[in-house]
Symmetry: C3
Subunit: 162 residues, 3 copies
């Protein structure tokens, strides 16, 4: 497997861990001193940081485990990434990717079955967030780990009391 | 071309065949004894099979040709996949990918032309299904073929009388 | 980096240039005599060209700079591509990809802050266009450039007076 694919698969594991709210799997993708910062877009080419950065795999694990709202029953999400631009320079790599987040809500089967005339998949899939991941990685003992991860969100985030 | 890309392109041809309802092209991607099973999600990490598995390329071809509802006039779909995780071990491969299905409905141009003030693409694009493809492949005579394909759908499927 | 990835990254830069309305970056991806033609779908396997083709990187740059409507304040877009099929033959390459275009509209933070109970990302992400990119490239002085680019749009386009 070439390094570009290895790097892309780190992000592929990142989005699965996010969607499963699996803080441990998520944290394992980062170095101990990694910096993770969410930004929101303030203009065509400008972003501002939101809150304090997370530090290291332990910080990521803690945040995913404690602060990400769980999916409701029947709920799921897909953080999808596309159009990766990857530069490898020895043991350093840089990755930029588009992301679109979909919120999934499965419909519950009525106790007396689906109504007549209804067929196919039952539920909703809705895009709710988008932006870019801009990520630096380093190869440590043969494995690519994230050292700096910037989430560049296209829209503002409402935080309690903000 | 490296094997990871070859494997990914099998899935790229799979989604095109599905969207075109091209049973023959779809079936050609599977071995004669391949097993294809649709599952629906029943909880955070649990799925249950829906109906009987399809067997082999011939079974897939028959199902696509006879059971997939055709697109209405102006209709199309895009089964899109992302964030592939691919493991190659000699002549065996495993692929996991996210999928989002979009339903496309082109607007019909009014007989007397588009109304004043209307511009750009006319129609709707709507995400309707999502989940994961979890797929095993084998290299046979130099070509990667699907031997086991699991469609892990995020939502239940309403079948007539279910 | 292998050639398939190099080719894919040309398209990754193309979509970023489109979304940023960066005519110069967009034009730089094409040869001087490149042909770019938008088509709209007229049936299951048929398309018709829309308007005249753009010619060369200069033509692309001019069109992006002068004819693409700018994003409104808070607006953005993501042209996302997936399921690439890439064939390399020496210094020639062919690429086919699905595309989905998302229109993003960030919500404006109210002057007195977000209302109580509102949380998370504030804005809308909406799929508005879809189709295929079908693209031929040539390697010139070690760099892959687009020589022929067909945008195969799933839906018709309303043009002023059409």
């Amino acid at each position: 497997m070439n390094d570009e694919r290895r790097v892309q698969q780190v992000l592929a594991r990142y989005v699965r861990a996010t969607d499963r709210r699996d803080g441990r799997a998520q944290g394992a993708l980062f170095t101990d001193d990694a910096i993770v910062q969410i930004h929101t877009r303030t203009g065509p080419d400008s972003y501002e940081p939101v809150g304090e950065p997370l530090i290291g795999g332990a910080g990521v694990e803690y945040a995913v485990t404690n602060f990400m709202p769980p999916h409701p029953p029947g709920g799921a999400s897909h953080h999808t990434t596309s159009d990766h631009i990857i530069d490898i320079d020895g043991d350093r790599a840089h990755l930029n990717a588009q992301f679109i987040v979909f919120e999934v809500r499965a419909a519950a089967r009525p106790a007396d079955g689906w109504p007549a005339g209804v067929s196919g998949a039952q539920g909703s899939v809705r895009p709710i967030e988008s932006g870019y991941y801009d990520t630096a990685l380093r190869r440590i003992d043969g494995e690519w780990k994230i050292v700096h991860h910037r989430v560049l969100l296209d829209m503002p985030i409402a935080l309690p009391g903000s």
